[in-house]
């Protein structure tokens, strides 16, 4: 009984000590609670997904027989701002290379002749970018441009054919040229419970990312300071066990993370309007699992680090890896299998998906990811225990 009370006393001492240390740094409290909220607010309010139209010049060679009226092309070139129709490509291409323009479209010089001879013509779309995302975007626009041009040609041909048939006294098929040119069109129906929004999608992801980063950094710095300042020697001599040190740290920073998460989720839902469709209890359970797994990762970093500087470096590397490989920016499915496996080792990978599911869909089908978080936490805590015990018994 006394032994149990003594253990509780030691654990409470850690909770009290860590909370006091955090309280003593008002700047830390502000950055811990308001920081994540402000980042999400700025991101959500500042990002609207608007893509500036590509500043474009269309080159229509005089011999092509195509119209050179600017207004004729404005509806065709979706996502492009047509500045001018030029007869020759040299000057626009020079401007493109000096990055005054985003794109130069060169129409084929002999489109009709090629068509009649049964050959495909090429519309050249010149761009000057180094960003692969921009290149992909330009490629989509180019494809769409070709489709639009093709549809216009078919529409024109169908209209002329209909006129010819009627003039020849034949019965024309009652199909409008628009439908002949584009027999189908797609209509998007989203079955998700909410309409996608930048803030609602990235809000939960930022919460998971920041929660992992804070948990890792705070607990790692706390333990590594104790190791490097010599306080660990006091632990060695005192009756506290390695398990009590680890549990004490997890509880102390768990309480802190719980407070930060509660405030941040409340701000997200109330102030930024991010939906919370699922059970708050389930969300709390997921956040608790993510927190414990992140704390375990932080403790592991602390026991393998030799200095505070190394801990900070490892925490930042972990943050960088989390941004790239967790699905925060790029979908995990787009990575190769080995990288995908590595990404599942990061607690935040599971945290992002689970929190997004519970908040935006009301439930998650990926229950295995909750087990994954529990396994990550267990493995890292056991490894930390073994390494810390070694350093607490041997000097």
């Amino acid at each position: 009984m006394i032994a149990a009370l003594q253990t509780i006393t030691r654990l409470l001492a850690f909770i009290g000590k860590e909370l006091i240390e955090v309280r003593r740094r008002p700047g830390a409290i502000i950055s811990l609670i308001l920081g994540p909220f402000l980042i999400m607010s700025v991101f959500g309010l500042g990002y609207n997904g608007y893509r500036r139209p590509l500043q474009t010049i269309i080159v229509i060679p005089p011999q092509s027989g195509l119209p050179s009226d600017l207004s004729r092309y404005r509806d065709v070139a979706v996502g492009m701002d047509i500045l001018q129709i030029a007869p020759d490509a040299a000057a626009p291409l020079q401007r493109l290379r000096s990055r005054e323009l985003d794109a130069v479209i060169v129409a084929p010089p002999n489109l009709e002749q090629q068509f009649r001879s049964g050959a495909q013509s090429v519309i050249e779309v010149h761009i000057n970018v180094t960003d692969p995302v921009q290149q992909a975007y330009a490629g989509v626009l180019a494809e769409r441009l070709a489709s639009e041009v093709n549809a216009q040609i078919i529409k024109q041909a169908a209209g002329e054919g209909e006129k010819y048939a009627l003039a020849a006294g034949q019965q024309a098929v009652q199909i409008p040229p628009d439908v002949i040119a584009a027999p189908t069109r797609a209509e998007l129906k989203n079955e998700a419970p909410i309409a996608p929004g930048v803030l609602s999608f990235y809000g939960p992801a930022v919460l998971a990312l920041i929660l992992q980063h804070l948990a890792v950094t705070l607990v790692a710095l706390s333990l590594v300071r104790e190791r490097t300042s010599g306080i660990i020697e006091l632990f060695r001599i005192s009756p506290i066990s390695t398990t009590e040190v680890i549990v004490g740290k997890v509880l102390a920073f768990g309480v802190l993370a719980a407070a930060i998460s509660t405030i941040t989720v409340a701000l997200l839902v109330v102030a930024l309007g991010v939906p919370l469709l699922g059970s708050p209890v389930l969300l709390a359970a997921i956040i608790a699992l993510l927190t414990v797994a992140s704390l375990a990762l932080g403790l592991f970093i602390a026991v393998i680090s030799d200095s505070e500087r190394q801990t900070v470096q490892l925490s930042l590397l972990l943050l960088l890896a989390s941004v790239f490989f967790s699905g925060f920016v790029l979908p995990i499915e787009e990575f190769t299998a080995p990288v995908r496996i590595a990404s599942y080792v990061l607690p935040v990978t599971h945290g992002i998906r689970l929190i997004q599911d519970v908040m935006l869909r009301g439930w998650t089908n990926e229950v295995w990811e909750m087990f994954a978080l529990a396994i990550i936490a267990a493995v890292l805590l056991v490894a930390t225990w073994a390494l810390l015990r070694r350093s607490m018994t041997r000097a």
């Binding site: 003594q6 006393t9 006091i20 003593r24 010599g230 006091l234 001599i237 009756p239 018994t393």
Partner: protein, 329 residues
């Protein structure tokens, strides 16, 4: 105990009786802290064995750890916590439950004179106050055995006296204390003193016996009115040796100053000397340790080198015996 191929502490054998203060004294880098860390289990000996409270420090049980207090040489507490919070945290580590913990925190804060500063952050305390805070943390759980690594380093003489007062009070309560210090004068405060030099124990005894070992007996300092060759006195029955300090001053080492002083004065008068003063003197512990260290070095060196070292250490020296006994305990 080896560090990077060098022995930090070697061939040390000592046992400490319950309820005593053992002072571990030696110059900086002598191995005092290493010895304390071996005794607390923070370090594992390369060879040999250590038993503290009947157990191997590497395998201390939890109950045994609760009976040990440790004050490290360097400040190892939380700078952002106040003095009171630091002591409270350490008391919790040692498993003190709330009512006792509260009482003890108050007590030790007053004991080390930090009550007024209990609400100040440890980082804002002066160096001396930080040492007292460390001491308070070591005392808070009322340990039976206390390891204090230089508890008086960096604190003023008045407070140093107060710290020793507290250590004597603890001793009177039956506690055992191992105290390291660079202040050799503090040897007087200890029941037993272990002198460590270059990782080796060169003397272990009570302060009084160490002094006798250093001088070879009691010392009488004699001043004469005129030049006098003191070597003539060596043939007297109570005289062990004579050291000429100056043409008119010399020191005579005798078995007992009380009985030998009249004989020395009489013999001096017989030899034609006129005594200005003859009094028993007590060497300071600085001198005692300097003598013991010099003698240890000389003993370890070749006999020829030993003589040279003695000549360099003092003036003309006439001894009745050719060799002195080893100080090693």
């Amino acid at each position: 105990m080896m560090f990077g191929g060098m022995a930090a502490v070697r061939d040390v054998t000592l046992s400490v009786a319950k309820g005593t203060i053992l002072g571990i004294i030696g110059p900086s880098g002598a191995g005092k802290t290493t010895m304390v860390r071996l005794l607390t289990g923070a370090l594992k000996p390369t060879r040999g064995s250590v038993r503290v409270l009947g157990e191997d420090p590497q395998l201390f049980r939890r109950r045994t750890r609760e009976r040990i207090g440790y004050m490290p040489q360097l400040f190892m507490l939380y700078p952002d916590l106040t003095a009171g919070e630091n002591i409270n945290f350490v008391a919790s580590l040692f498993g003190l439950l709330w009512p006792r913990r509260r009482r003890r925190v108050h007590e030790v804060l007053r004991t080390v004179d930090l009550w007024a500063a209990r609400g100040k952050r440890a980082a804002d305390l002066s160096g001396g106050m930080q040492r007292r805070l460390e001491l308070a943390c070591a005392l808070v759980h009322e340990p039976a055995l206390l390891f204090l690594d230089e508890p008086t380093a960096g604190i003023d003489p008045l407070l140093r006296a107060k710290v020793w007062e507290e250590l004597h009070r603890l001793k009177s309560l039956g506690r055992t204390l191992l105290v390291t210090t660079q202040y050799v004068t503090e040897a007087e405060e200890c029941d037993m003193v272990a002198l460590i030099v270059e990782g080796q124990l060169i003397a272990l005894d009570t302060p009084a016996d160490l002094r006798r070992k250093a001088t070879g007996g009691d010392l009488i300092e004699v001043e004469t009115a005129a030049r006098f060759n003191a070597s003539k006195l060596v043939s007297l029955p109570h005289v062990r040796s004579v050291t000429q300090q100056s043409p008119r001053a010399f020191r005579v080492t005798v078995d007992d100053a009380g009985t030998a002083t009249p004989d020395v004065v009489a013999a001096l008068a017989e030899a034609g000397g006129e005594v200005v003063s003859a009094r028993e003197i007590r060497l300071s512990f600085d001198e005692v340790f300097a003598e013991l260290v010099a003698r240890d070095r000389a003993t370890r060196a070749a006999p020829a080198d030993a003589n040279a070292a003695k000549d360099a250490a003092g003036g003309p020296h006439t001894e009745k015996r050719k060799a002195r006994g080893s100080d090693k305990a």
